[in-house]
C-alpha cells in the first residue's frame, strides 16, 4: 500500500473517531430519530472516503455537516417523492395495483427520473410532465398553463436538453 494511502486511511480513522458521535448527534437533532441519524452518519463518512479528501480538511465539523446537509436534503426529497407515489398508487383502481415488487421497481425508476428533472424551473417541469406523462398536446398544455404554443415548445426542448445532459452526467459519475 503506498504511503499516501496509509496516511489517508489514518486521517479518515482520526476523523471518524473524533467526530463520529458529534455528527450523529447533529443529525439526530435534525431527523428526530436515531436510526436514520446512524445511517446518514455512515453515508457521510463513505462520501469522505470516496472523495479521498480526508487529508485536506481544515475544519472537519463544518465540512462534515456540509456533506450531511446534502444527504439530508436527498433523504427528504426521496421521502416526499415516496409519499406522493404511494398516494398516486392508492388512487389507482384496486385491480390495476402493481405487485409489491413492481411497486418497488417503479419507485426506483421514478426516483431516477426525478433526478433527471432536478434543476428544471417549475413551469418547464410542469409543461414537460403534461406532455410526457399526461400525453397532452402543446395546444392543450398552452391553454392549461396560459402561455403560447411556442413557449410550450421551448419548454419541452429545454427540458429534453436538460434531461439528456443530466443522464450523461449521471452515467459518468
Amino acid at each position: 500500500m503506498p504511503a499516501t494511502d496509509l496516511s489517508l486511511r489514518s486521517a479518515v480513522d482520526v476523523l471518524y473517531s473524533d467526530h463520529h458521535s458529534w455528527l450523529q448527534g447533529w443529525l439526530r437533532k435534525r431527523l428526530g430519530n436515531a436510526f436514520d441519524a446512524a445511517d446518514l452518519t455512515q453515508d457521510t463518512f463513505v462520501r469522505v472516503i470516496k472523495a479521498r479528501s480526508a487529508l485536506d480538511i481544515r475544519e472537519p465539523r463544518p465540512y462534515l455537516s456540509m456533506i450531511a446537509k446534502g444527504l439530508l436534503i436527498d433523504l427528504f426529497r426521496r421521502r416526499s417523492l415516496e409519499q406522493s407515489y404511494l398516494e398516486a398508487l392508492a388512487a389507482m383502481p384496486q385491480e390495476q395495483l402493481p405487485s409489491l415488487e413492481e411497486q418497488a421497481i417503479l419507485l426506483q425508476a421514478l426516483m431516477e427520473i426525478d433526478r433527471l428533472l432536478l434543476g428544471l424551473g417549475p413551469r418547464v417541469r410542469q409543461a414537460f410532465i403534461l406532455s410526457q406523462f399526461d400525453g397532452l398536446t402543446y395546444p392543450q398544455i398552452a391553454e392549461r398553463l396560459g402561455v403560447s404554443v411556442r413557449t410550450v415548445n421551448n419548454h419541452m426542448a429545454k427540458a429534453m436538453e436538460h434531461c439528456c445532459l443530466m443522464q450523461i452526467q449521471l452515467q459518468l459519475s
Binding site: Q83, Y85, L86, E87, A157, C164
Partner: protein, 319 residues
Amino acid sequence: MNLPAEELQAIRMAAQWYARLHSGITTDADRAGWNAWLSADPLHSQAWQRMTAVAEQMASVPGALAAPTLSERHNRSRRQVLRSVLLLTSASGLGWLGWRSQATQNLLCDYRTAVGERREFQLADGSTVLLNTDTSVNVRFDGRQRLLELLWGEILVTTAIDPLQRPFKVITGHVEVLALGTRFIVRGQAWGGEVAVLEKAVEVSLSAIGSRMRVEAGQRLDFNDRSLGTLRGNDVSVGAWQKGSIIAIDRPLAALLDELSRYRNGVLRCDPVIADLKVSGVFPVDNTDLALAALESGFSLRVTRYSRFWVRVSSGDQR
C-alpha cells in the same frame, strides 16, 4: 462534464427536434426537416440516440403514476387531496373486550357496517357520514346540537352548513370533538384514540379532567380516557381507506396486519420473529387475501391458512 462544443450543440438541436416532433400537431414538413437534419452529420444521429435514451427512461413508468408523483409536490398533492378531510380517530379506555361487549348495543344503533364494508349515509341536515369497516354510530340531532356518537369503528363526516347554526360534535368514550372544519373521521380502537385534522381545526376536550386542546390542519392528536396526547403531523396514510387502501410507510409488519385484520373476519396472527419487519406499500382493503398474497411474494413471507378464519404469517425462510 466536458463534452465538446459541437456535441453540446448537436444535443441542443436534437432536443429542439424532439420537442417539435412531439407537439401533437406535427406536420410532414417538420418530419422532412428532421430527416434532413438527422442524416446531415453523424453527430446529429448520435445526439438523437441520446434523446431516444431519455424518452425510453421516461417510458419506463406508466404516465398515470409518474404525472402525479413527479408534479411539484409542495403546491399540490397530498394537501389538496386530503385538505378537505378532517380526521379524528378515537377510542374508549375500555379496551377491546370492553368495546366488544357492547355488541348488542351496536346492533341497535342507527347506522352500521359489517366487516369489510364501506357505506355512506346522508344525515337530516344534509351532512354525510362515511362508515369504514365494522362501524356503529348513533345520530342525535336536536334543537341545540348535531351530535354523533361513535360506538365502534371509524367514520368520515362531511358537515353541511346548518341554518340553525347548531354546533357539530362527535362523542366517543369520554372524549368530545367539536368540529370547526367541514369533514372529519373518527375511529374507535382499543388502545386509545386519535384526532387528525386536514382542514381548519377541531377542539378536543376531555371534560372529566378539564383538558382541552385545539388541533390545526395537518396535525393529529392521540388520546385515551385519561389524557390527551401530543400533537404530530399527518402523512398520506391518513384517511387512505376512503379509497379502499392502506398506505404503509416503513410500518412494522405486526401493526400492518392489525390494520388489515379490521377488514376481515377471523384471526390474523403474526410470528413475533418478524413482527418488527418494516413494510412499505399500498394494500387493498376490499380484498385482504390479495394484500396477504402481496406481502407473501413481496417480502418472502409465508401465509399459512389453518382455516378460512385462522391465518398465520411467518418468515418464508423457515423449513
